[in-house]
């Protein structure tokens, strides 16, 4: 196998995730997000298709920039209502054996010790299939909800994040030595107290003095995802991330960003291949190009323009309901510019390669066609931008993923781009093949105690 492509399904514990308005589609089932069966069936489908992971987005605030209020977000179900993402993972893990789960948690809403325990608990319950997408928050409404007047400044957020990570690594990697847990019924020793250590931290933003509450889980530290693209965000990713999730639809530009990220990782003492890069993509696929185009057009007829603009306004922090602001805001983000343009044009396909920007897949492109065309696009894109895989947004839940399992996965397998079977072991082993724990080059490794 040459370049292996990994596929994640991109979803959220809500109704309208990336494709706003599509919950009205007669076959869409995203409004069933409150049901356990909904998620269990999705997980089974994804594992049948050998998806690497389900990537769960999250946000703890409302999209209130568009029009200056939350009316559109509420009316169109733009990522609200939104339920907790962690709680749907254990039943999905119970129903599957290999599927990974990468879950977004905003550290500004999480006291360090209970958070470390939640992640360790998930890693235990899933037998090591957990990843954490580290987020510092981008919505002022989320900050208000947490009791602050507004979001703390972007750069400060990453300082807080650095301190938060230090504590997490201390708890996950350093508090319980390997071999601390004996489980010895004969001697009556469950844990050897000499091998358990307090994490003492008194920093600018956090203070803690405790041992970790959990015994070491299969991976200890969950697989670390990151999605920031600012200079501070990229530096954070180059230092901490094992997987990076990027948006955009210009392969050339993405290639530059990916190269910069991998260069920076090397500067931090890591290897270029220590980070896997996933790009956001929407795929509409069918047996023939014509069928796929027809399906795409039918989907497009359900797109909600205000819903899409409300989402984009929240991302950009600019009210796209106001023409003047929209201009400024659009200029600040290519993805938003092109989506706004696409909506304005009425969903007419724009110049190809790598796909068309649409109101369907959030900030990423849509790739539409028969298996050959879609696989060609993904393969060329991954080659040009040096990608390791894709986070696939859905248009119609779960139809988009079912179509990929039926049409795309076999084509990628035929080309030797996609695994025939899952690797054994934890999520980290499936991704990197080197054992369940973080490698020695990762900054978390220095929190470990020497074996004795």
């Amino acid at each position: 196998m040459g370049r292996e492509l990994r596929l994640n399904a991109f979803a959220m514990n809500c109704v309208g995730h990336q494709a706003q308005g599509l919950w009205r589609h007669p076959r869409d089932r995203s409004a069933e997000y409150r049901s356990l069966n909904h998620w269990v069936e999705l997980a089974r489908l994804l594992e049948r298709g050998k998806f690497d992971a389900l990537f769960l987005a999250d946000v703890l605030g409302l999209y209130d920039v568009y029009g200056g209020n939350t009316d559109t977000a509420l009316r169109e179900a733009v990522q609200v209502p939104v339920n907790d993402p962690l709680l749907i993972i254990p039943p999905m893990a119970q129903a599957t054996e290999h599927l990974g789960f990468a879950v977004t948690c905003n550290l500004s809403h999480e006291p360090p010790l209970p958070f470390a325990r939640r992640m360790s608990t998930l890693d235990h319950l899933t037998d090591g299939r957990i990843g954490w997408n580290v987020v510092t928050g981008y919505l002022d409404s989320g900050a208000k909800a947490a009791g602050r007047d507004k979001q703390v400044a972007h750069d400060v957020r990453y300082d807080i994040a650095q301190e938060f990570m230090d504590i997490q690594y201390g708890l996950w990697e350093g508090s319980w030595e390997n071999g601390a847990v004996r489980r010895d019924r004969e001697t009556g020793v469950f844990t050897d107290p000499a091998k358990v250590h307090r994490v003492r931290h008194e920093g600018e933003y956090f203070k803690i003095d405790s041992v970790h509450l959990c015994e070491p889980s299969p991976q200890r530290t969950p697989v670390i995802y990151q999605a920031g693209s600012s200079p501070k965000g990229t530096a954070f990713a180059a230092r901490h991330a094992e997987c990076v999730f990027i948006g955009g639809n210009e392969p050339g530009k993405m290639a530059e960003d990916v190269a910069k990220l991998r260069d920076l990782a090397v500067e931090f003492g890591r290897a270029r291949s220590d980070i896997l890069v996933f790009a956001l993509a929407t795929v509409v696929i069918a047996a023939t190009d014509e069928e796929a185009e027809a399906k795409f057009a039918e989907y497009q007829s359900y797109v909600s323009e205000p819903g899409t603009l409300a989402l984009m306004s929240g991302w950009a922090g600019v009210d796209l309901s106001k023409p003047e602001q929209a201009k400024t805001g659009a200029a600040s983000s290519n993805a938003i510019q092109s989506v706004a343009a696409s909506i304005a044009r009425g969903a007419e396909p724009t110049g190809r390669r790598v796909g068309r920007p649409v109101g369907l897949g959030g900030g990423g492109p849509a790739i539409v066609g028969a298996p050959k065309r879609v696989a060609d696009e993904l393969e060329a894109w991954a080659e040009e931008a040096d990608l390791d895989g894709f986070n696939i947004a859905y248009v119609v839940m779960p139809e988009t993923f079912a179509d990929i399992v039926e049409h795309l996965v076999p084509e990628l397998q035929r080309r030797g781009l996609f695994k025939q079977t899952y690797r054994l072991g934890t999520y980290r082993e499936k991704l990197f093949g080197d054992g369940p724990r973080l490698g020695e080059r990762h900054p978390a490794a220095r929190y470990r105690r020497p074996e004795r």
Copy 2:
């Protein structure tokens, strides 16, 4: 049916819950707490026996009072390691239809908005089978872990709790009106924004300005449990609790406490029957009294004295490894006194009624015998102390519960004291029969908006 008795199974996402040392018993499986199957099988067993709920304890700190360090707690697995209790509930809900889940969450570790969302998410995923045991924390080590130097004063904790409850009620009961969610594919309206309201609160301890992130769940507010027995704790329970969990082994004294609690509830405008009272009990039951006694003696041989004392020391805040402190400490708590005495005597049965205090069941009594003897005891005890049910601690997991399903439940059913089938509906409907939402007499009701 006369007085209906409810049964909860009392457990914790850890190894050594109440019966310290019993994880060494050859048939005990509590050390498998990290496995999803462990919990799913327990839930199925409990539902087969028509248990009302699984009551999950939790603590976010270590028992470090005994001997002035955490060595004993770690060595004996005294409630450490301890995993997150919320995450095991969805898979158990997936495997059952009627079993309720009452889960302990310490509000001093929970930012209000994410916490409200976690509870609502659980209520959605379980179809309204969630209860919340409101805890304010009793371990200094937990406070330290949360970044405070020590536990805030007891009375202040209940002021914080009151403010926390105000916010939760606002989010659960007041933020989304009935009928706010339309789910109307035709008009494209998912939620009517006019029927969703911000919760604005700027108090002494919390500040929030947000709508609730979740649409209304079946019960909205989870069934509220409380377990405090101080004057402030009792007042809090009388005001807020729907179920109260008490310890102790003197029916006469408990009768006084229960009467006081119900009187106080009436003072707060509620009815005496608005609160169901559950007592902690350990039951060792077999086909004959002799078999049960033999089983009890065999269990006793596994009790860890230091483990038990470490647990008790944490509860009492007194180091029972020091004779002088032990005396003072024991005097402050009857339960601890009698358990300490029982251990000192080598588990010899003490004067009966209502059972014998032992190192097996935490602060409650153990009731040992054939179905007739156990049912007689429970029935008389419930009558004398005006109890509505029992939280049954386990000695050997899950054997204790399997024995109850086999021996006790049929006997209670024969006597008309226990349901033959589950009532339909949410956990609250199963307990009170009046609909899924809190009654009008409860303080949460005034957060509701008038129907229109």
